[in-house]
Symmetry: C2
Subunit: 230 residues, 2 copies
C-alpha cells in the first residue's frame, strides 16, 4: 500500500474539470461496478483501490479521500481514456443542449434499454464525462456510441435517417408516428425546448398528450418516446 | 424595504430541515413561479421578496441571500402551510421508499400529467417538502393529493382498489395489463426495488421489457407505466 504523491492528487483532481479531461483525453470513474464496466469497454487505463482483493494499485484510505468526489468514500477509482466514435446505429437519440447531468445520465440508461445505441451530442449539451452523468447512467455510458456534432450539420450529412423533433405546442401525437428503420429523435433543452431552426427540418415534431400540465421532465419525455419506438 | 432580523433568518433556515417543518407545520418555496402556484393552492402564508413589483414583504438582497438555498439568488421566498389530505382519486401512485428528491419531484410532475392525482407516500420515502423535491416537481406538488401511510395497511383498508407492483425479474409485461377504474401502481426503492412482502398482495407485478439492461431509472419506469395506464 502506498500514498498518492501531491502531484498525483493534483493530476487526478484536475480530471474532474471538463477542460482538463479534454486536454488529457482522460476521465474518472468511481466505484468497483463502474470500473469493471470501463474495463469491459476497453477504456480503463489505471485503477487505484483501497481494497487489496480488487485489481489495481493499492493506496491508503487517506489518499483515496483526497481524490474521490462522492460523499461516501469509494474504495476504487479508475482513470479511463475518452471514447472513440463507432459506426452509426439504426436508432439515434439526438440531444439539443441538454444541460442537467442527471437528465443526461438517465437518458443514456433508457437509450441503452430501448436500443437507441448512438447518442448525438448537440452543442450546449453537458459533458458526458461529468461525474454526475456517469453515476446516473449506471454504466450505460460504457455501452453507447457518442457523436459530437451540430445537429443541423449531422442532419445534412446523413439524409438516410428520418428525423423527429419534439414540440409540446404544435407537434403530432406520439402514437400516430411510425418511424422507419433508421431514425433519430431530437430532444430539446430543459428550459427552452428544441431550437426553432430545427423544427422545419424534421419529418415531424412529436408531443406526448398531457393532462393540465405543460411539460414532462425531458428524460421522462425522451424515455417514453424511446419506449414507444423501441 | 427592511432587513430580516437574526431570529427571522434563523427561523426560516430551520424550515429547510424536515424535523422543523414537521414541528412548525410549514415549508418553504423559492421563486415567483412556485410562490404563485402555492398561492393558487391556498397554502401560502407569507412571502418575502426583493422585487417591489411582487406581492410580499420587501426585504434587502442581503437578507434574501441569508435565507434562500438555491445558488442563484432568488427574488422571492414563500412560507407555506403543509398540505392536507383530500379525497382519494381513481388512480394512485404508491411509493415504497423512493429516496432521491429528484426522482420524487419528477414522478410528481409525471403523475399530474397522466392523471395519477393521489400519491401514497410509503415509509422511507423522502420528505415531499424537501426543497429539491419541490423544485424538480415544477409546481406539480401543489396540484396533487398526498397520503402518508404504510402501503400494506393502505391496501388492507382500501380493497376497492386494484394494486399493481413492479418487479424487473418475475413480472407481467406492462402492455399485457389492463387496470380497472380504480387502481394503484407501486414503485420500489432505487436500489432494492419494492419490498418482497408486497409482491404476493398485488393483483400483478409489472415489468417493462428492456434490451440487455437490468433496469431503468425509477422515475422513468414509473412515468412509462403511468403513460400506458393514463
Amino acid at each position: 500500500m502506498r500514498e498518492l504523491s501531491n502531484n498525483e492528487v493534483k493530476y487526478i483532481n484536475k480530471l474532474y474539470l471538463a477542460k482538463y479531461r479534454k486536454e488529457e483525453k482522460k476521465f474518472i470513474v468511481e466505484g468497483k461496478h463502474l470500473i469493471l464496466e470501463a474495463k469491459n469497454a476497453g477504456v480503463l487505463l489505471e485503477c487505484y483501490t483501497t481494497d487489496s482483493s480488487f485489481d489495481g494499485t493499492l493506496i491508503s484510505e487517506e489518499s483515496m479521500r483526497k481524490v474521490c468526489k462522492t460523499n461516501t468514500t469509494v474504495n476504487a477509482l479508475g482513470i479511463c481514456k475518452l471514447f472513440e466514435a463507432h459506426k452509426l446505429t439504426d436508432k439515434i437519440l439526438a440531444l439539443d443542449a441538454i444541460q442537467d447531468p442527471g437528465n443526461l445520465g438517465t437518458l443514456m440508461r433508457s437509450a441503452k434499454a430501448f436500443g437507441f445505441d448512438t447518442i448525438l451530442l448537440g452543442r450546449g449539451t453537458v459533458d458526458i464525462y461529468n461525474d454526475k452523468v456517469i453515476r446516473s447512467s449506471q454504466g450505460a455510458i460504457f455501452k453507447l456510441n457518442f457523436i459530437n456534432d451540430e445537429i443541423k450539420e449531422f442532419m445534412h450529412d446523413h439524409p438516410e435517417y428520418e428525423y423527429y423533433g419534439t414540440d409540446v405546442k404544435t407537434g403530432s401525437e406520439a402514437e400516430a408516428i411510425k418511424p422507419s428503420k433508421r431514425f433519430a429523435i431530437i430532444l430539446g433543452n430543459e428550459g427552452n425546448g428544441m431550437q426553432e431552426g430545427l423544427k422545419t427540418l424534421t419529418k415531424a415534431n412529436i408531443y406526448i398528450p398531457l393532462i393540465n400540465t405543460e411539460s414532462l421532465n425531458v428524460s421522462v419525455a425522451g424515455s417514453i418516446l424511446m419506449y414507444l419506438y423501441k
